[in-house]
Symmetry: C3
Subunit: 323 residues, 3 copies
Amino acid sequence: MPKTQTKTNTATFERRDILSFDQFTPNDLFHIFTTAKEMAYQVKKKVPSDLLRGTITTLLFYEPSSRTFASFNAAIKRLGGQTIDIQNPGQTSSVAKGETLADTIRTFEAYSDLIIMRHPIKGAAKEAANAASIPVINAGDGIGEHPTQALLDLYTLYEKFGRLNHLTGVLVGDLLNGRTIHSLLRGLSLFEGNEIYLLAPQILKLSPQDKQDFRKRGLKLIEITNDKEIPKTANFWYWTRVQKERFTNLSDYERVKTAFTVTPELMKSRAGKDMILMHPLPRVGEIAKAVDKDPRAVYLRAQIRNGMFIRMAVVSLILGKKL
Amino acid sequence: MPKTQTKTNTATFERRDILSFDQFTPNDLFHIFTTAKEMAYQVKKKVPSDLLRGTITTLLFYEPSSRTFASFNAAIKRLGGQTIDIQNPGQTSSVAKGETLADTIRTFEAYSDLIIMRHPIKGAAKEAANAASIPVINAGDGIGEHPTQALLDLYTLYEKFGRLNHLTGVLVGDLLNGRTIHSLLRGLSLFEGNEIYLLAPQILKLSPQDKQDFRKRGLKLIEITNDKEIPKTANFWYWTRVQKERFTNLSDYERVKTAFTVTPELMKSRAGKDMILMHPLPRVGEIAKAVDKDPRAVYLRAQIRNGMFIRMAVVSLILGKKL
Amino acid sequence: MPKTQTKTNTATFERRDILSFDQFTPNDLFHIFTTAKEMAYQVKKKVPSDLLRGTITTLLFYEPSSRTFASFNAAIKRLGGQTIDIQNPGQTSSVAKGETLADTIRTFEAYSDLIIMRHPIKGAAKEAANAASIPVINAGDGIGEHPTQALLDLYTLYEKFGRLNHLTGVLVGDLLNGRTIHSLLRGLSLFEGNEIYLLAPQILKLSPQDKQDFRKRGLKLIEITNDKEIPKTANFWYWTRVQKERFTNLSDYERVKTAFTVTPELMKSRAGKDMILMHPLPRVGEIAKAVDKDPRAVYLRAQIRNGMFIRMAVVSLILGKKL
C-alpha cells in the first residue's frame, strides 16, 4: 500500500503507520488530541459506540506487556471493534521453525485491518510496516520507540494546561536510558519557550549528545543535582525509576536516592499548587504511596485513562472512522 | 467508590464486590437465582442478547484456570459484553519489576467496568477490591474462597428441589481441605432443617472446629464411615476427590478407597430415584465413567451450565443491567 | 447429538463435525467453495456482518499455532461471532490434575456452540467429537489431519482454474511425511484426469503404499528427480519444506537441495504463465524472497485469505447460518 511514513503537515492519518514519535507535526498532535478529547467525552457519556464495528485489529505481542495490551484492547473494544490477540508468537511453531517477521506479518495482514505490534528488537516495527499492506502501530520495539506512550504524556500536559509551549517541567530519574523521557523531550522541543530541569544521578544523566541535540531543537535545559533545587514554578514533574542495579558503588546510590523519591514532604516543600506529578509506571517505590491521594498526582488517574483515549483516537483515525 | 461489602439484606448488587460467600443473605441468594433462571431461559431461546453491550470486563487470571476463565468469558459474551483477557500477568514486566497488586488493579480499572480476578494468594481479592473504584469478583483466591462456585452448587440444588431447606445431603471425600465443601456447608447453614451426612477418610474428616461451628449455625451433621451407611432418602450426594498423596500409609488408602468411588452398583444400592449426584470437577476416577449417563448425574450437565447462568446473573446484576 | 460423521452426499453441514478430509464428497466441496466465495465477496464489500451474532465458539488449542488460531478467530469475528480463546489448557490445573479429554470437552460444550480444537495427538479430534454434543472442527491433530488446510488448498485451485479435474500439478519436498501433501492428493483423487508430478529427495519420497493407494483412486502419478523435469504445462506447483535434519548424510542434502528451492530463474525456465505457485507456510528459504512479487506466487496472498474464507464458510455452515 502507498504509505506516508515521512513527516507530514496534513492531519490525515487514514491508513498511515505510527512508528516513531518523530513523524508527528504539531498539527498532527493537535488533531490527535482533539479526537482523544472527543473519545473521552464518548466514554463519559457511557453510550456504547459502534465506530469500529466490522474492523479487526491484530495485537501481535512478541513480548508480554499486560498494561499496553489491555490499553489497546480496551480502546478498540470501547469503540465496538474486535481484536485477535496473539501473545508470545515466538513460542509457536511457525516462528520457532524460522519464519521471517515479514512472512508472519503478511499472514496476519490477510486477517485484519490493522496490526499493533510489540517486539523486543529495535526497528522491528519499521520492518513489519515495510512488509505490511495494512497499517502498523508500534507499541514498543525494544529500546526503540513507543509513540503512543509519548502521545499520552503530551496529551496529559495539553489537557491540563491547554498548551504545550512555555511550560516548565522537571524530569527526574534515569535520563540516560529512559525511552519515555527521550520521547517527551522530543515532543516538547516541537514547541517554543519550554524550560526543562533535569535531575539525575551522575551516572544516569542525559548524554552530552542528547543534551546538545535537544538544545539545538530549542529546549532550554537546566541540570540540577538535588530535589531542593526543583523550581516551585514547575508546571509538571515527570518522575521515573532509578534502578539500584545501575550503580556499581552502593554507597553512591544510598547518597543520592532520597533525591529521587517523591514524598508528601517533598510535595509540600517544592510542588506548586497547580502542577501535576507524572510517572510512566510501573513504579516500585520512587513515589511514596501516601502521595497517591494528592490531587496533583495523575499517574494512576489521568495518565492511564488518557492512554486509552489516545489509543482510541489513533486507531479510529488510522481506520478512517470519525465519531 | 462507596462499596457495601458487609452483609446486606437488600437485593441490590449494583457496583458491589463479590468477594466471599458470607456476604450473601438468603434474600440475596434468591435474587441471584431468579436472575440466573431468567438467564437460562434467555440462552434457551437462542435470541442474541445485548444486555452487556458497551461494557468491558477484565479477566485478570494470575493462575491458570481454563474452566472458570471460560465460564465467565461465555457468561459475558452470551450477553453481548466484551472482555479483556489477561492471563499470567505475573510473567509480564510490570509485575516482574515489582509493581504492587494495588497499582496493577488501578491500571486495569481505568480500562474496564468490572474486574474478575483469580489469584493464588488468599486475601488477594479483598486487597484488589480495596484498591479498585470498580467492582471486583473473586474467581478464586488460593485456599480462600470462590463464591460463584458455591452459588452454582446451591443454585443446582434450588433448581432441582425448589428449596434450600429441609434437604438431606451426603458430602464425600476431602472434607478437611475442600474449599467447595466448606462454602456449601455455609450456604446450607443459612436455611433450616438441613441434614448432612459426612463420609471421609479418618485423616480428611471435617475438623472438630468446623463441625462445632456448622452445628452452632444450625446444621445437623452425621458422620458415617462407609458408603453402605448412605441414607437412601438423601436428596443429593456431593462427591469430591480424595488425593492418594494425603495418605502416609498406602494400605490405609487401599482399605478406604472403595468407599469413595461412585459406581453404577453404588447408585443402584444407595441412591434414591429423585436424588442428584454432584461433583465440583475436575474428577479423576472417583466417579466411574459408566455413571455419567445416569440421569441423576448432574456434574457434567446442570452443574456446568448453571455455573454460566449464575455468572451471567452476577455480572449483569453488578453492572446494573436488567433483562 | 445425532451426528453424521460418515460420508454423505447431502450438502447439509449443520451441526456436523469436520474431522477428516475423507468425509467430503465432491458435492460437499463445491457447496463449501460456493459459500467461501460469497464470504470473500462479503469481506470485499466491507459491510459489517452479523451472521454469527449470538454464537460462541471455543478455540481449544492444546498446541500453539498463531496462524491457524488467527485464521479461525478472524473468520468468526468477521461474521460478528464471539470466541473463547483457550491456549495451552494442558498447563492448567484441571488437565494437570489428570482430567480426561472427554470431561474437558463436556465442560466447554456447555459454554459454546462449536469447538475448534488443535491437539498434538492423532485421533484427539475424533475423541473430542465423540464426547461432545456440539460440533467439533479438527484444526490439526498431530500427524493426523487438518481438513480446513486441505479445503483451502483445493479452493485456491478451484478459484483459479474453475475446476478440480484435468489439472496438472507438481508436488515438491517432503512427500513422505507432509500432512498437507497427503490431504491434497486425497482431494485431487476425487476428480478425474488429474496428473501429478512428484519431486522429492530419495529418502522423502511418497511411500510405495501411498503411491499405490492414490493410483488406485485414479490419480496419475509421475515421479521426477530434478526440477528440470517439471512440465511447463503444470497448472500448479505445491512446494513444501525439506528439512535438512532428515538427512543422515549431509552431502546427500547438498547434492539435492537446489532441486528443492524456487528461484526467479526456475520460475522463468519452468513455470507457465498461467500457473500458480503454492506453499502451505511457514517457509524457511525453500522459496526465494525475490519470487514473492511474482503474480503467480499465491502463498502469501490468495492462499492465506482463502483460508479465512473457507473457515468463514465452514463455521457458518455448521452453525446453520446463511448469508
